[in-house]
């Protein structure tokens, strides 16, 4: 450990605001970079599974209607 105490470490020899703000901004941007593709992936799967469900239910309704028509005539 280079610093004598924890408060020394946080003070960074008077340069605390420069050092810590850089590291915080970096952390923020790294996390943002991780979260964005995860969210995009989630969105893709949500949208697509909704679309698939809609399509299958539409197809089922169609089949049902056709069946009904056939028996009616």
């Amino acid at each position: 450990m280079y610093f004598e105490s924890l408060s020394d470490f946080i003070a960074m020899g008077g340069h605390a605001k420069y050092v810590w703000s850089s590291y915080l901004i970096a952390l923020f941007i790294f996390i943002l970079n991780l979260v964005l593709p995860v969210m995009a992936r989630q969105r893709f799967f949500n949208n697509q599974s909704r679309r698939l469900r809609r399509e299958t239910s539409a197809r089922n309704v169609k089949i049902e209607n056709e069946g009904h028509d056939a028996s009616g005539s």
Binding site: Y18, A40, R41
Partner: protein
């Protein structure tokens, strides 16, 4: 050799194999970045001129490094996409742009924060800083082109041309500190020369650079995988993936 090249071009194959790589890249990045920053922040000795503000180097230099590597990858993949019409290559180029832009932005911001206590100013119109700003605008240009053109192939073509033209900027950034008389200090990292810093300062920097490369690889793979899904949503294997969830 060519079957390997063709397989690499297959999005489905890439999706499968990259899913296995991803956790390793993420783990390696995590371990290296945490080790590097703890070492750099708490254990490395302070600079005799700049004091503790020099510890910003452990963020600033790796991100600036990656910003340029990422641009290079984007331009090369754009060229491959232009010449061989390889779809996957277009997707890599597209995925590079936002990551590279964020790293360039980070390098500029940490540079400004570092400049304040060291040079007494946030910003100077110096060759290194200005060429880095141009790099940010090139990235933003590619992102804008990608979102403005709705046809994927046209968008890939346009942004590949832009990134190839902008490639000129990379050697300008690299040699700006040698060609012009600037405030920016010369390169702290070189493959051939012996490091000018003591080893206790230099080791954490090396760890951070390698860690950030792993992190970049993970981010790139994550973005490419989403891009593959969005382009291949009509195919049976993607439909099977959606149903499995």
């Amino acid at each position: 050799m060519w079957t390997w090249f063709y397989r690499l071009g297959s999005p489905k194959w890439f999706y499968g194999i990259s899913g296995r790589w991803l956790p390793w890249f993420l783990c390696a990045a995590m371990v290296l970045l945490v080790t590097g920053s703890v070492w750099g922040l708490a254990f490395a000795p302070q600079d005799y001129q700049q004091g503790n503000s020099f510890r910003i180097i452990y963020i600033h230099v790796p991100t600036a490094f990656l910003a340029q590597s990422c641009y290079f990858i984007m331009a090369v993949c754009g060229a491959i996409g232009l010449i061989w019409k390889m779809k996957l290559s277009d997707m890599v180029a597209k995925s590079c742009a936002p990551i590279g832009a964020s790293f360039t932005f980070l390098a500029l911001v940490t540079g400004a924060i570092w400049g304040k206590p060291t040079w007494g100013t946030w910003w100077v119109w110096d060759a290194r800083l200005t060429s880095m700003l141009v790099l940010l605008f090139l990235y933003l240009g590619v992102i804008a082109l990608q979102s403005a053109i709705s046809d994927r192939n046209q968008a890939a073509k346009a942004s590949a041309v832009l990134s190839l033209v902008g490639l000129v900027n990379i050697p300008i950034i690299k040699y700006s500190v040698e060609w012009w008389n600037t405030l920016h200090q010369p390169a702290s990292f070189s493959v051939v020369a012996k490091p000018t810093m003591p080893i206790e300062m230099w080791m954490p920097l090396l760890i951070m650079v390698i860690g950030l490369y792993c992190f970049f690889a993970a981010l790139l793979v994550m973005r490419i995988r989403v891009e593959i899904l969005e382009r291949e949503w009509r195919t049976e294997w993607v439909k099977a993936l959606i149903k499995k969830r």
